[in-house]
């Protein structure tokens, strides 16, 4: 997909003026936060489970090479195949090879963000293969020619009336008089249309929430059941997953599952947690004939062992974006690539380069709400700061900002000079403000005064006033 992270600022201006988007974003603030809190409060062991989930992932990452070895051996023992993919292009070519061999015409898809990361849909279409998204949200945005704006709620930026309009436009073979006002009818119409697609599909593609080394199993966690129908009824099941989805054992999976759904949707457990191991067995009467896993690196091995390693613990629950004031204001598309919100602000520069995604780790107030709710306790603000450090080191920041900061840092390190400068500047600024006590505009402060008044200083600095207050000279 086209990367627009470079124009983040322009994207946000557009998003802030988009009335429909702003209407839709209100649901994010209202829905997810309370549900997560309620679910966390209902389980006394929630924080202990978070701690253990962190331990599990840290242990796994330290031994990732060995767990991948064990995982691959188990997949092969169950009759499946693992394909290592260096990058997006490589993953697409591996997929196309499988598709060509199977003479695939149609591919059904459960929800997978890796598919977005590698741009699979556009690539399939270029190669004459029809991708059919089956997750309701994904289906809606595929009709609209859009990309997900959220990692677990892909169509969260769209309102019901917009969905209704889309269905009328695209489902032209159906009765134009039909009632599509209620969400229930929209759902059953999508269900009816997708029903026939599952069985027709030559390949069913899913993502994976976990890959279990102990058993060679892929796990998907869903609510709709579309992922299950996709992987069950497609004649060939292809799992798209990245390296860090590996967990050691079934028990480790059970631990992380307990924090996943609660953090994501506030459910005790998602409706369907499905463990798939290899293709259809001889005695089976249903199931896919082939089972493939495309294991994608695409920059992740380069994060391991660095200050960004903690990001590889991410289980894609979406809690960080659900609690992010910036995400609430501008939505997921503003971030300009696949992964939005705080996790995207850390991951995107790792995957596409900080030169393209530099805005993302900067566009955070560091309010810390993301880290506070992250089930895997990923220090997201800290890692965004690391990206800012990388940018600073490679002189990627805007010149004016860098110069301003440089002057300030120079003074801050020289107390006497600093004191002299501010003792002159603040009373002058107070005079300039006049009696009102604030500025409506001020040269060089346009970023502030565009939308806000700037409170004027009281006059003398604290240090000046203190020296004259009879408390005696500051020490």
């Amino acid at each position: 997909m086209q990367i627009t992270s470079q124009t983040f600022k322009a994207n946000t201006v557009k998003a802030l003026a988009d009335v429909d988007l702003q209407r839709a974003l209100r649901h994010v603030e209202k829905g997810f936060i309370g549900k997560r809190q309620k679910a966390a409060d209902a389980l006394p062991e929630f924080d202990a489970l978070r701690d253990n989930a962190v331990e599990i992932k840290n242990h796994t990452l330290k031994h990732l090479d060995l767990y991948i070895e064990a995982y691959v051996a188990k997949v092969e023992a169950s009759g499946g195949k693992v394909h290592f993919a260096e990058d997006a292009d490589h993953a697409r070519r591996i997929f196309l090879d499988i598709a060509k061999r199977r003479k695939a015409k149609t591919v059904t898809k459960g929800k997978t963000m890796i598919s977005e990361e590698i741009g699979l849909n556009a690539f399939l279409e270029e190669n004459g293969i029809v991708p059919v998204e089956t997750d309701l949200g994904e289906y809606i945005i595929q009709l609209r020619g859009e990309h997900p704006s959220h990692i677990i709620a892909p169509a969260v930026h769209i309102n019901r009336d917009q969905v209704e309009a889309d269905f009328r436009k695209f489902h032209v073979h159906l009765d134009p008089e039909r009632d599509l006002v209620r969400p229930e009818t929209l759902l059953s119409e999508a269900r009816q249309i997708l029903r026939q697609k599952y069985g027709e599909a030559d390949i069913g593609v899913t993502g994976a929430n976990f890959l279990i080394a102990e058993t060679g199993t892929s796990v998907i966690v869903t609510n709709e059941g579309n992922g299950d129908l996709t992987q069950l009824l497609g004649k060939c099941h292809v799992v798209l997953a990245s390296l860090e989805k590996i967990v050691p054992t079934l028990e480790d999976t059970a631990q992380i599952l307990r924090v996943l759904a609660r953090s994501a949707t506030g459910q005790e457990m998602s409706v369907y947690t499905t463990l798939s191991t290899g293709p259809k067995r001889t005695e089976d009467e249903d199931g896919p004939e082939e089972y493939h896993v495309i294991l994608l690196d695409n920059g992740r091995s380069g994060m391991l062992g660095t200050e960004f390693e903690d990001m590889l613990r991410c289980i894609r629950c979406g809690a960080c974006m659900n609690h992010c004031p910036v995400y609430h204001a501008v939505g997921g598309h503003s971030y300009g690539w696949v992964y939005p919100g705080p996790m995207g602000a850390v991951l995107t520069p790792s995957l596409i380069g900080v030169d393209k995604a530099g805005h993302l780790p900067n566009a955070s107030t560091f309010c810390g709400r993301c880290e506070a709710v992250c089930p895997m306790r990923i220090p997201l603000p800290k890692m965004m700061r690391h990206w800012r450090e990388k940018e600073f080191e490679s002189h990627l920041q805007p010149k004016a900002a860098r110069a301003g900061l440089g002057v300030w840092a120079y003074l801050a390190r020289r107390p006497k000079l600093y004191r002299a400068a501010v003792s002159y500047a603040m009373p002058a600024l107070k005079l300039l403000a006049g009696r009102k006590g604030r500025f409506r505009s001020l040269p060089l402060a346009g970023g502030w005064t565009k939308w806000r008044d700037l409170p004027a200083p009281e006059g003398r600095t604290f240090m000046q006033a203190y020296a004259q207050s009879g408390h005696g000279d500051p020490k």
Binding site: K9, P325, S364, F366, G368, P415, V422, E458, R460, D473
Partner: protein
Amino acid sequence: MTLNGMIDGAPSTAPAQTTPTVALFVTCLVDLFRPSVGFAAIKLLEDAGCKVVVPASQTCCGQPAYNSGDREDTKAIARHVIETFEAYDYVVAPSGSCGSTLKKHYPELFANDPAWHERAVRFSQKVHELVSFLTDVRGVTEVDAALPATVTYHDSCSGLRELGIREQPRQLLRTVEGLTLTELPEADVCCGFGGTFCVKYPDVSNAIVGKKTKHIASTGADMLLAGDLGCLMNIDGKLKRENNGIEVRHVAEVLAGMTDKPPIGGKL
């Protein structure tokens, strides 16, 4: 005011029943824009039985450089702050944000420098945000102040999530004579200030602070309080631009009974 120096990791170098010396870390925003907060802090600390000193060579905690990715300048500033303040019993700042930089981030900053790391850790144990210092360390349970007004309180992010400050200011505000405290909806959500964020991404910042002022207006309060001047200047600037006359003050001004000065940004 009976509990001296033994709570919340306070160093045992400050023996009970004596007068601890508190070095006031004024913070650059208070120094430059709102000296009243500094004087209010001194009054509150002295009322709590502390001797207050104000080291003259202080400038800033270095957060602007730190959050802009300039680690080396931040370290230089941090070393200066530590050298200037480490000899006192306590270091207190009227800001959760600067307090957290000193307390939580300095040790992290020197993670790869064992000598300075140890020094930063020892220093960090002495650092406290003003209101939490009063309640958690000095055991203050009430203040001698009066304000006949309905106020609402915004929880600044660093204080809330990095230092765990939530109940402390509310607890003391309830003891201000004549004051009614009304809860702010979504008080724990960021105001959109974020240091340099608000000037780098003014449109996004505006959208966030616009929600905050809407919630503030919904409380019907006469006054909005918080513990960080950055947030307060941001929120006040937006309220004024919206022609909303709600007064904005630092919580220390109210707790110290020092509300004679005009509010932040003046009166509407």
